[in-house]
């Protein structure tokens, strides 16, 4: 019983992180159209927002949040990531979001502090 409880508390909760990220993206990008002048500000705001909300969860993790925003013009975009870490304690979560004029991909990586 004890071991099971420790396992679920110790590992990364990706649903929780996903909700935090979705909220973060919606609040920043919401109903806007892709704009080259604003996109710089948007990506910075999305990562900042997601990070502050994740830190508020008060878990013993280091976080890395990355965000990519791409204009919808028919171009192909591929992303991949690979991690060398402790698979029992660390985890990641990726959220894909889109609206009429742009795609947004946000990845959160959480690494446990020993």
């Amino acid at each position: 019983m004890e071991e099971y409880q420790n396992g679920s508390e110790g590992s990364f909760n990706s649903e929780e992180a996903e909700n935090v990220v979705k909220e973060g993206i919606e609040s920043v990008l919401g109903g806007d159209d892709y704009s080259q002048t604003h996109v710089n500000k948007w990506t910075a705001a999305v990562v900042e927002r997601c990070l502050t909300q994740l830190v508020k969860l008060n878990k013993p993790y280091k976080y890395i949040v990355t965000c990519s925003v791409m204009q919808k013009t028919g171009a192909g975009l591929h992303t991949a990531n690979s991690c060398y870490w402790d698979t029992s304690m660390d985890g990641s979560c990726t959220v894909r979001w889109e609206n009429r004029t742009m795609y947004c991909v946000v990845s959160v990586f959480a690494v446990c502090i020993a």
């Binding site: 892709y34 949040v65 204009q71 192909g76 975009l77 991690c83």
Partner: protein
């Protein structure tokens, strides 16, 4: 031999550490170096390179991986999946060979050159003194490749 007095506790000029000089009868001088201090000095000297995130080193690994996997190939929708996977895998294998006490995260983005705008950003909540990141932007005639490596000290 009985030491007359512990005359001097000062600095060894060759390899800085505290030493103790003892004067004995018959004009013998003995220099004693505390063992713990010697080991600490050597460890400190050796460990700096082994426990810091060196951006140039990582940057070189990334550039080599991209050149090897993609090189002069043109963007092909059917092959991109395989390329992104190979690039991150190559980077990670070379990074783990460095044998440093780090956890690594490698992120790769490949985008076709089509006139579309792409913006990426990342932010990190970590230990500024020990952790680091390195991002490399690479391109050829038909695509852009952005690779980020994050290293977190254990």
């Amino acid at each position: 031999m009985v030491p007359i007095k512990n005359v001097f506790t000062g600095e060894d000029l060759i390899c800085p550490r505290r030493v103790h000089l003892f004067y004995f009868e018959d004009n013998f001088i003995v220099i004693l170096v505390p063992v713990s201090e010697t080991l600490a000095t050597m460890d400190d000297f050796m460990s700096e390179d082994k426990t810091t995130f060196i951006v140039e080193e990582v940057s070189k690994i990334i550039k080599d991986s991209v050149e090897t996997v993609i090189g002069e190939n043109s963007y092909k929708h059917g092959r991109v999946n395989q390329w992104t996977t190979s690039v991150v895998e190559q980077c990670l294998i070379q990074l783990s060979k460095l044998d440093k006490p780090f956890k690594f995260i490698v992120n790769c983005i490949i985008m076709q050159k089509n006139g579309a705008g792409l913006q990426t950003a990342s932010t990190c909540f970590w230990d500024n003194t020990t952790d680091g990141s390195c991002t490399v932007r690479w391109e050829n005639d038909t695509m852009y490749v952005i690779i980020s490596v994050f290293g977190l000290a254990i």
